[in-house]
């Protein structure tokens, strides 16, 4: 386990985005974009309402008791950020946010398209005071086009994005991916776009406005079936745990099957299908490999018999010895208890004042010369005073006045 102090004191390295300041106006799982930039060392200022980002109301909470400072999602997705709490519905709040953005390199936002325009914070108006601004707007359907004002959610976006029909069992209704999988993937695209913007600005001095849409991220995740359709005209359909192809000669298995104590991910060796028959010898698998995908049901049946008397760890150990890429299907509890994560110091303790000993996920990447920054998530408005003073030169009287008027917290 690594504590915050170990990494923050690591002064021999300067972070990749050291000196880059980001205004983060996103909500929900879109917050992952700012989390990534904070991990790379940007100063990310979370601009949130007086009640805090609604993300904070979304659990898990310890003992199921809601606490906007210590929700699991907030602690994870806001790690490394600072917080300024300001009411965007007031003109003074809008002016503060505009002034902060003018001192930033990047703005991340996920409002309904057009909303920022109504409060005087459109890209055009921001860029007039900060000409090389990089703005990254995330939305369900995009900033323009016939669906821009449609109402989105993870399940709705993946429905329209062609993704939802591809998940689930053929004999059942389509089922959505886990949690906010595609929204969080969209946020990863957004962080990458922000980095593209920085590279472009380094080269040219120009800013840019990036329009990132969840439906696009859904289609991006689908990959191959999109291209195959244009050649064979076959529209991919959900296929349980099998890959989305009906080509009988395609490699099989790549699937999940039950074993003695749970499930394993079973996978053939791309270069040597006979290895699977070597793992499960003498039960007739070798006769089915001419058209593995075409014989998938038969292969499942034979594998299931063999698997039913072995536990998942035994199966995976035997398979991996033969270079068959089998793995155990683990529950979150099991992977957390696994020595692998501990040995890699993946879980970090970030010394949050209200959760001092809580462990949470750490790095998305390890870099040899630049740190991945893990710092605890901020309390609501924790940095309001400091940032208003530092960036906007507001003295204590100004701030008290704004606080009394309910503009900041």
């Amino acid at each position: 386990m690594i504590t915050m102090t170990d990494q923050a004191d690591d002064t021999k390295h300067s972070a990749i985005l050291g000196g880059i300041r980001v205004a983060d106006l996103t909500t929900g799982s879109f917050n992952y974009a700012g989390r990534l930039l904070a991990g790379l060392g940007a100063e990310v200022i979370k601009l949130e309402t007086l009640d805090g980002d609604p993300l904070r109301q979304w659990g898990p909470f310890r003992n199921d008791e809601e606490n906007v400072e210590t929700g699991g999602r907030h602690l994870h997705l806001d790690a490394g950020k600072r917080s300024v709490s300001v009411d965007l519905e007031t003109s003074e709040g809008q002016s503060i946010v505009k002034d902060i953005i003018t001192d930033c390199d990047i703005v991340l936002e996920s409002f309904d398209p057009g909303y920022l325009d109504t409060i005087g914070l459109s890209f055009e108006s921001l860029v007039s005071s900060k000409t090389d601004l990089i703005m990254v707007s995330m939305s369900h359907f995009g900033q323009s086009g016939p669906y821009k004002d449609y109402h989105g959610s993870e399940i709705v976006d993946v429905a329209i994005g062609g993704y939802l029909r591809l998940t689930g069992e053929p004999d059942r209704e389509p089922v959505k991916p886990y949690d906010d999988l595609v929204i969080q993937h969209t946020a990863l695209h957004a962080a990458t776009a922000a980095m593209v913007g920085i590279m472009h600005r380094d080269n040219t001095g120009e800013g840019d406005w990036f329009d990132v849409a969840v439906i696009d991220a859904a289609l991006f995740l689908i990959g191959g079936p999109t291209q195959s359709y244009f050649f064979d005209g076959k529209v991919a359909q959900r296929n349980g745990n099998r890959l989305l192809t009906t080509e009988p000669r395609y490699l099989y298995p790549s699937t999940i099957r039950p074993c003695l104590d749970g499930y394993v991910h079973a996978h053939g060796n791309n270069r040597n299908q006979d290895l699977l028959a070597a793992l499960m010898p003498g039960i007739g698998l070798e006769t089915l490999f001419e058209t593995p995908m075409g014989n998938a049901d038969e292969i499942d049946e034979i594998m299931d018999t063999w698997l039913s008397t072995r536990d998942k760890f035994e199966v995976v150990t035997l398979a991996q010895e033969l270079r068959l890429p089998f793995t155990e299907v683990l529950t979150p509890e099991e992977i957390l208890a696994d020595p692998h994560l501990e040995e890699r110091n993946f879980l970090v303790k970030l010394e949050h004042p209200l959760e001092p000993s809580l462990l949470q996920p750490g790095q998305a990447a390890l870099m040899s010369e630049t740190p991945w920054i893990n710092r605890r998530a901020p309390l609501i408005g924790e940095d309001t005073d400091e940032i208003l003073e530092e960036l906007l030169g507001m003295n204590e009287n100004d701030r008290t006045d704004l606080r009394n008027k309910g503009v900041i917290r």
Partner: protein, 412 residues
């Protein structure tokens, strides 16, 4: 042609499967010169059933794998035997002229080929190297082999995907691969920026498992905070109810709906012609609706089944509630919003003709070219690399080909 963020950046890509190629494809889309190095023996994801060549094109089925070509759009292809000392020498000279070396082989293969960071740094001090091991370069699973779906299994994602009353599931085609690929592209760009500012290269280790754990975090936190291991919840949502997919009129027709608040629930009951449901104590607030979710689902479905999925989407959206018809892939391709966003870019391939490529999820004013070109045919950059970059004579190139160190077509 607008400016490109990664102009003049050269990337050597030694990758297999999906995650590594995705990373290279994003860098190529943004203007980098990406040279993929393949063994003369051929490639790993050349799937069976290649579509026919276009008229007049040579019949090279190995150049016509749709997914391979999607993942390698805009790249160059050098076919080079790295196991041969002379092949390795060529690689070394290329590294001298490159900014980034990216690989997603298993750690064992990297060691055997002698292309790990310590070796490459000796060749070029400020080189940036990226590894994308499944589980990491340390830890008990360092040497385990796995593709993306196998990592989904170990991360908990499979356990958390699917129907509560059935076994673990798989989200569409892949998740882990694209997640790792984009994260690699993000950190590589960051490392380039760091090098440009400090002159210092570095090594990036991107364990695919750890990238995926960023998504699984809410479930992990539930275990850590409450010692409770969460299960899959199908189409339901932790904070919104009802949410689900509901049958519509016609064969295989569904609409997805999310009700985000009590007032949206009230609006929906009005649309359903059943406004008294809003006063039903079983459905009065989020908790009540979650407790009686199955009852609500039946009521909603009895209404949506009288509508086509497009009608349902239109009516529900008009009331301000998120709703979407479940489009088949081919319907998504011609959907007006995707057309508006030019999400699919049609690029002409010399042997397959014109077909669409899926862009990253961003559009912008200055970095908006999307896809920079078609996928390369096998060994299409052999001559570019050997002649233009490394000044090999025609005679020496022929010798390399005779000895199968470089090849213009897959051997064997």
């Amino acid at each position: 042609m607008t400016a490109q963020a990664l102009n003049k950046i050269r990337v050597l890509e030694l990758t297999t499967a999906v995650a590594g190629p995705v990373a290279g494809c994003v860098l190529a889309d943004m203007g980098a010169e990406v040279i993929k190095i393949e063994s003369p023996g051929g490639r790993s994801i050349r799937s069976p059933g290649a579509p026919p060549p276009i008229q007049g094109a040579p019949d090279h089925p190995y150049n016509r794998t749709p997914f391979f070509n999607e993942l390698h759009r805009g790249k160059k292809l050098l076919s080079l035997d790295l196991k041969h000392p002379e092949g390795k020498d060529i690689f070394v000279r290329l590294v001298e002229n490159a900014d980034v070396v990216m690989e997603n082989f298993s750690p064992k293969i990297v060691g055997r080929l002698g292309i790990d960071y310590a070796e490459l740094k000796k060749i070029k001090d400020d080189i940036i190297c990226v590894s994308m091991p499944a589980f990491g370069k340390t830890g008990p699973y360092e040497s385990r082999a796995s593709y993306g779906p196998g990592i989904d299994a170990m991360s908990g994602l499979s356990h958390l995907t699917g129907y509560p009353d059935r076994g673990p599931g798989k989200p569409a085609q892949f998740y882990c691969d694209q997640n790792a690929g984009l994260t690699a592209a993000l950190t590589v760009m960051g490392a380039i920026r760091h090098r440009n500012r400090t002159g210092q290269g570095q090594y990036i280790e991107l364990a695919m498992l750890e990238g995926e754990m960023q998504l699984i975090a809410p479930a992990l936190m539930e275990v850590i905070m409450n010692s409770r291991s969460p299960n899959r919840i199908g189409n339901k949502h932790e904070r919104f109810a009802p949410q689900g997919v509901y049958k519509c009129k016609g064969e295989n027709a569904w609409v997805a709906i999310t009700v985000r608040s009590d007032s949206e629930w009230q609006s929906l009951t009005e649309l359903m012609g059943n406004p008294e449901l809003a006063n039903d104590h079983r459905f009065s607030d989020l908790r009540a609706r979650q407790a009686h979710h199955d009852d609500i689902d039946k009521l909603i479905e009895s209404w949506t089944s009288t509508l086509t999925q497009e009608q349902a989407e239109g009516i529900i959206q008009a009331a301000g509630i998120p709703a979407g018809a479940l489009l088949n892939l081919n319907e998504a391709f011609t959907h007006q919003q995707f057309l508006h966003r030019n999400t699919l870019v049609h690029v002409e391939h010399p042997e397959m003709g014109t077909f669409p490529h899926t862009r990253t999820a961003w559009r912008s004013r200055n970095n908006n070219d999307g896809v920079s070109g078609p996928a390369p045919t096998f060994g299409n950059a052999n001559s570019y690399v050997l002649t233009d970059l490394l000044n090999f004579s025609a005679e020496d190139q022929q010798k390399l080909k005779d000895r199968k160190i470089v090849s213009d077509a897959p051997l064997g």
